[in-house]
């Protein structure tokens, strides 16, 4: 019996499909075990897919337990913890605990308009009216949602990404928003 060439390649490729495990997970580091337990209870009660585990060797701060969580949902999880006054000391990706959130901004002046980019998110404001005229970039589903809620509103009256966003894209937009406020608004 002749084996289909396409089936052969398909089989070969399928064998290579092995999940890498924890690439999309993050770690919450707390001051003490009591906070870990409190955070675990809150997050599990809200239905998050989390795990309590020992910390990786790179983590020097905090207690000897950490919470592993879906990294993409960092913004939403931090907000949930803030509501019960349990904030982590550190939030880091599982695979590379030494990585830091982006702190590099690109700014582009279009004359009347000013654009600030943080990581994959861009925020553009009309300098005369301080109205948000565009939000672009980002690939998480809260980006179109954030754009719908924020575009067309003045910078100071628009909803804040940290409060209505849910993902790391929302977090990046928050950084762009803060930088924009720093550039546009009197201190």
């Amino acid at each position: 019996m002749r084996v289909s060439v396409v089936a052969f390649f398909k089989k070969k490729r399928s064998r290579g499909l092995v999940g890498t495990g924890n690439q999309d997970r993050g770690i919450l580091v707390f001051e003490n075990t009591s906070e870990v337990i409190q955070a675990e209870n809150v997050l599990k009660a809200k239905g998050w897919n989390i795990r309590v585990k020992g910390p990786p060797p790179e983590i020097r701060k905090g207690c000897d337990l950490v919470i592993e969580f879906p990294l993409i949902e960092e913004l939403n999880i931090l907000r949930t913890l803030q509501e019960v006054n349990v904030s982590p000391l550190q939030v880091v990706p599982v695979n590379s605990p030494l990585l830091q959130p982006v702190d590099l901004f690109q700014t582009k002046d279009f004359g009347r308009y000013l654009m600030v980019r943080a990581a994959n998110m861009k925020l553009t404001v009309d300098k005369e009216t301080q109205k948000i005229v565009n939000i672009s970039g980002g690939g998480c589903p809260d980006v179109p949602y954030l754009a719908r809620e924020m575009v067309g509103r003045p910078l100071m009256k628009a909803p804040i990404p940290r409060e209505i966003g849910h993902t790391l894209c929302g977090y990046a937009l928050q950084l762009a928003y803060e930088e924009m406020k720093r550039l546009c608004l009197p201190s």
């Binding site: 999309d24 993409i72 990585l99 005229v133 998480c140």
Partner: protein, 365 residues
């Protein structure tokens, strides 16, 4: 047929599937209407406009509401795992979805069960998941912007938010970032990098830089990347080879943007409205020769391609080769898998022009 998987920024928007049409400034799927401002509706609107010019059927869509909580994305992933193995699409484009490595891999397994296997395009959140899963090479095309390219180039970063500073720099380093992304196997077969200049690249290097017309306002406008992905998806669904489609899509999107005469406050629907006119100009090759492209690489099926080359790009052509087995008197895929078409035709007395024509028809799906 093109199928698009994405989300709508409304929490209670149900999971809907089916053909999508454009109705003035909204897309319509059954009795559901969604205004086109950015995101997956913008991608679909651009694909529909492109398809109208090319005479393509309406795209099929899998849509669900998701505002970043991930609930809708997980529902659509679950649906895809059940639905895809029995579905037939020539191109499958994944868009704004909550990145989730486990679900990504389950969906990719479902794709592998499809016959024929569709050409895979990933943008936005699903592209992040593809990179994180280490499965970028399962994809024909990624369409990152400069920030996302830096993320692909950073082998450590699990999300653009964590891209390291020494990698995340200005666009002048795009070719370096492309090289780094391929070195670490974090890029699809082709990359279409959106930006001040659009770059079309593969592991062989940058094939084309599309830098005109220039309209800086487009960088600020939400949805212009979505429209680009919609255009290139439709062009590939028309049977066009990916390299050629990516270059043309870059030119069409830029020209449509230019024709819209935008400011940084303009909305993407204004760009999408100009796609048909931009396509007419670009496809009639006004200014097209200026691109730095090798015509040999951009050709679709040609006499110098081997059977295995063609099968790996267009799985559905296997049936054509089987049809020619009887005329050749041998199993072509068994006896001549690594031979160029022109040699195969000469050796077995086949009409080369007819064979190529039949293969092109099959490749269009």
């Amino acid at each position: 047929m093109l199928a698009v998987v994405g989300t709508i920024p409304e929490e209670d928007f149900p999971l809907v599937t089916g053909e999508v049409c454009l109705d003035t400034d909204s897309i319509r799927l059954g009795d559901r209407r969604v205004s086109v401002n950015r995101g997956t509706p913008a991608l679909l609107a651009a694909a529909i406009r492109t398809g109208e010019v090319l005479g393509l059927p309406l795209p099929y869509a899998y849509l669900v509401g998701d505002i970043g909580l991930g609930h809708g994305s997980r529902r659509i992933y679950e649906h895809l795992v059940r639905d895809l193995p029995d579905s037939r699409f020539s191109v499958l484009t994944f868009h704004y979805l909550q990145p989730d490595v486990d679900w990504h891999n389950k969906v990719l397994f479902a794709v592998e069960e499809m016959n024929p296997r569709p050409i895979l395009i990933a943008d936005a959140g699903f592209m992040y998941a593809a990179k994180m899963s280490g499965q970028s090479n399962a994809y024909e095309l990624f369409t990152p912007d400069a920030g996302e390219l830096a993320f692909l180039a950073d082998e450590e970063a699990p999300h653009p938010f964590y891209t390291r500073g020494f990698i995340l720099h200005d666009e002048n380093r795009v070719p370096d970032l492309i090289t780094r992304a391929y070195e670490h196997k974090n890029a699809a077969r082709y990359l279409l990098v959106k930006g001040g200049e659009d770059h079309v690249a593969s592991k062989e290097g940058v094939h084309a830089v599309i830098d005109h017309p220039v309209n800086e306002a487009l960088e600020a406008m939400g949805g212009t990347g979505d429209s680009l992905t919609g255009i290139v998806s439709a062009l590939i669904a028309s049977g066009m080879e990916t390299l050629e489609a990516a270059i043309l899509a870059g030119r069409i999107n830029r020209l449509a943007g230019h024709l819209a005469d935008p400011s940084p406050a303009s909305q993407v629907i204004e760009v999408i409205a100009h796609i048909p006119r931009a396509m007419e100009e670009v496809l009639s090759k006004v200014g097209y020769r200026d691109d730095k492209i090798s015509s040999e690489k951009a050709s679709p099926i040609n006499p110098d391609m081997t059977i295995v080359d063609i099968l790996s790009r267009y799985r559905q052509t296997e049936a054509v080769f089987k049809q020619y087995d009887e005329r050749a008197g041998v199993c072509l895929c068994c006896q001549a898998l690594f031979d160029p078409l022109k040699e195969v035709a000469h050796r077995y007395g086949l009409n080369l022009a007819k064979l190529i024509s039949d293969l092109k028809v099959a490749a269009k799906g």
